[in-house]
Amino acid sequence: MATQGKEAQGDVPTRRVELVVALLVVAGGVVVVVDSLRVGIAWAEDGPKAGYFPFFIGVILMLAGGLIAVQTLAAWRRRAGEVFVTREELTPVLKMLTPTIVYVVAIYFIGIYVASAIYIAGFMLWQGKFRWWTTAAASLGVPIALFLLFEIWFLVPLPKGPLEAWLGY
């Protein structure tokens, strides 16, 4: 509260995130209501139509999201000092999230085992600054263990890429 009205450079204020999420909730509610109206919210010959129940859900979503938005706006001044996440906190979160998104996209192309090995190795080198042999042991050991567990013992096929195809799996 000491920093009332003033936000440090790069800090994300809570009130703004709160408002955005509340408005997204309202938007979600609108989507649900519109789609329910499309499939019909009335009574057909054999009972209620498909939109009957979701329509209420959408309406409640809009109301509850709207309430939170209004409450946030009403307390806009008072909540000026609240920081949702500081820049120092946001950096590690993004450093986690970005590689994860890349990892998931990579699974499409090179399969989950190779992608996991690269992901673990990359993360360890980038964030942990481990010695290369620790990195190699963890990043190769985990996918190999997973391969044995899923493909060989439990016979649960996971996404595979060119390397596994080359090895005959």
Binding site: T14, V17, E18, V21, V25, G28, G29, V32, D35, S36, V39, W43, A44, G47, P48, K49, A50, G51, Y52, F53, P54, I57, G58, L61, A64, G65, L67, I68, Q71, F84, V85, E89, L90, P92, V93, K95, M96, L97, T100, Y103, V104, I107, Y108, I112, S116, Y119, I120, F123, M124, Q127, G128, F130, A138, L146, F150, F154, V156, P157, L158, P159
Partner: protein, 505 residues
């Protein structure tokens, strides 16, 4: 009553095979591991391992999965006491007195107290389940669609009325769950809802994927934000400490009993283990004669929250088994498992699948005994695991979450969704939207909708069907009462403030 004891003995015969005992041990071990590691908890741990159990017999599978749950409940205490990091939300209250005890060199004592009270709480809840579940199931056989909807309504109202979060946010979280549950093919009319032409959405959103994302990746993101350093004390337990602590514990029987009752109440009405542990800690602090020393390392401050958390976690299975309504996210995942094995939880389960139900209940007794022994003997090992740097653990957990999300339906789309749910989980957690109602609504959405529609069919479209007889009427009134409870409190505060203002002028 006698019949139940007989059934239970038969259950022990089912559960006490070598094969099932091994599954129990494996389950407890995995469970403690999940409980100790950040980002993996009871709910998403069970969700990830669920697909691996499809090839087992349902009884063995549920025994192993429920043991993972007990293990996770035990494991949360280890990190709280040694590292001041709650491995699970319900062990936050354990850090208040557990960590100071560890700093004073009494970690062994604190952990013995925590594990023993967990065991006592769970045992109390299992005994309650043994004798209450058959009665509830018998009673619920009379339920029609309106009654089922009313009970589900009660479940969701108690989230709003009894949660610690702002009611509007609880409602949002719940409705998001219901909305996501409605996506896809409507089973009654065959209409496509909210798919917007995307074939990936035909089957809708699977709650297992949501659980893995919300609780797994979301938790990892939060842990990253808080920093990676684990600074902890050494954990060691020897027989001497255990025996000495056990001699001390009976003094706290009153605290323990109170915690058991709070826990069971919060577990059956889905308040959940986390509020139960806080409530129990608060009560113990108020009633204890050493109340003002709480927070400085009182054993009683460890006993109270741990007992309540375990009692709540265990009794959450009672409504899951008897009514098909889970009392916690983990119970919801177990329910999902039952559905996949073709077992419909609910009152009929007690009639049609007697072996299974009583085998499971018997395994709850055995699992907790096994769990207590395992955790007491393996603490140093778990403490060592926590010394592995987070920069290794974090990516490995994300990999495991990705695999878990993929194996639910063998779809890459689910892995992408898991990441989305992870971000949602992070945002919701930081903005104090509760996650449990979202998961439960996603699980129960279809069931609640079906019950609602059938009720409407019965009545021809009027809401009066929910007050048409004494049973459904009283459940609805109770539900509405709980729903409006926070409003009442606010009204009273407002009236008092006005009185004060009037008195001042």
């Amino acid at each position: 009553m006698l019949e139940d004891v007989g059934n239970l003995m038969q259950g022990f015969a089912v559960a006490l095979t070598w094969k099932n005992l091994v599954f129990m041990l494996v389950g407890i071990f995995l469970g403690v591991l999940i409980g100790v590691l950040p980002g993996l908890g009871g709910a998403n741990g069970v969700a990830i391992l669920l697909p691996l159990t499809f090839s087992m017999s349902p009884t063995s599978a549920i025994i192993m999965l429920s043991c993972i749950y007990w293990g996770a409940l035990f494991g949360g205490a280890i990190t709280s006491i040694l590292f001041n990091i709650p491995g699970e939300p319900w062990s936050v209250a354990t850090t208040f007195d557990g960590y100071p005890m560890a700093q004073q060199g009494r970690a062994g004592q604190a952990m013995t107290a925590a594990f023993t009270s967990s065991f006592v709480g769970a045992l109390f809840a299992v005994i309650l389940i043994t004798f209450l579940a058959p009665l509830v199931a018998k009673f619920a056989l009379k339920f029609g669609p309106p009654e089922f909807f009313a009970v589900q309504f009660l479940t969701f109202c108690s989230f709003v009325g009894m949660g610690r979060e702002p009611p509007a946010k609880t409602i949002v979280s719940m409705m998001v769950g219901f909305a996501l549950a409605a996506v896809g093919l409507d089973t009654v009319t065959g209409t496509l809802r909210m798919t917007f032409g995307a074939t990936e959405l035909l089957q809708g959103f699977d709650f297992l994927v949501a659980v893995i994302g919300l609780f797994g990746l979301g938790e990892i993101l939060l842990t990253m934000e808080e920093g990676l350093a684990f600074k902890g004390t050494k954990g060691k337990i020897d027989l001497n400490v255990v025996l000495k602590t056990w001699k001390e514990l009976p003094r706290f029987w009153m605290t323990s009993l109170r915690a058991c009752l709070i826990g069971c109440w919060m577990g059956i009405t889905p308040g959940g283990a986390t509020p139960a542990s806080f409530m129990s800690y608060g009560m113990a602090k108020r009633f204890s004669k050493d109340g003002d020393k709480f927070g400085e390392g009182q054993i009683e401050g460890v006993v109270a929250p741990e007992t309540a958390a375990h009692a709540a976690g265990t009794s959450a299975l009672l409504p899951m088994l008897t009514l098909g309504i889970p009392g916690s996210p983990t119970a919801a995942v177990l329910l999902g498992g039952l559905l996949i094995w073709g077992l419909q939880p609910g009152p009929l389960l007690f009639v049609e699948k007697k072996d299974f139900v009583w085998g499971l209940i018997a395994s709850m007794y055995l699992g907790n005994v096994v769990g207590l022994i395992v955790v007491l003997t393996t603490v140093p090992f778990w403490a060592a695991i926590l010394r592995i740097p987070f920069a290794i653990i974090a990516p490995v957990i994300v990999v495991i979450c990705a695999i878990g999300a993929y194996t639910v339906h063998n779809k890459m789309f689910d892995v992408a969704m898991m990441v989305v749910f992870g971000v949602v989980g992070y945002l919701f957690k930081k903005l104090k939207y509760p996650l449990a109602p979202l998961v439960l609504a996603l699980v129960l959405g279809d069931m609640a909708e079906t019950a609602f529609r059938q009720s409407m069919l019965l009545s021809g479209g009027t809401m009066t069907v929910f007050f048409s007889n004494g049973l459904v009427g009283s459940i609805m009134v109770l539900a509405l009462g709980i729903l409006l409870w926070p409003l009442l409190g606010r009204l009273r505060a407002w009236l008092r403030a006005r009185e004060d203002a009037a008195a001042a002028t």
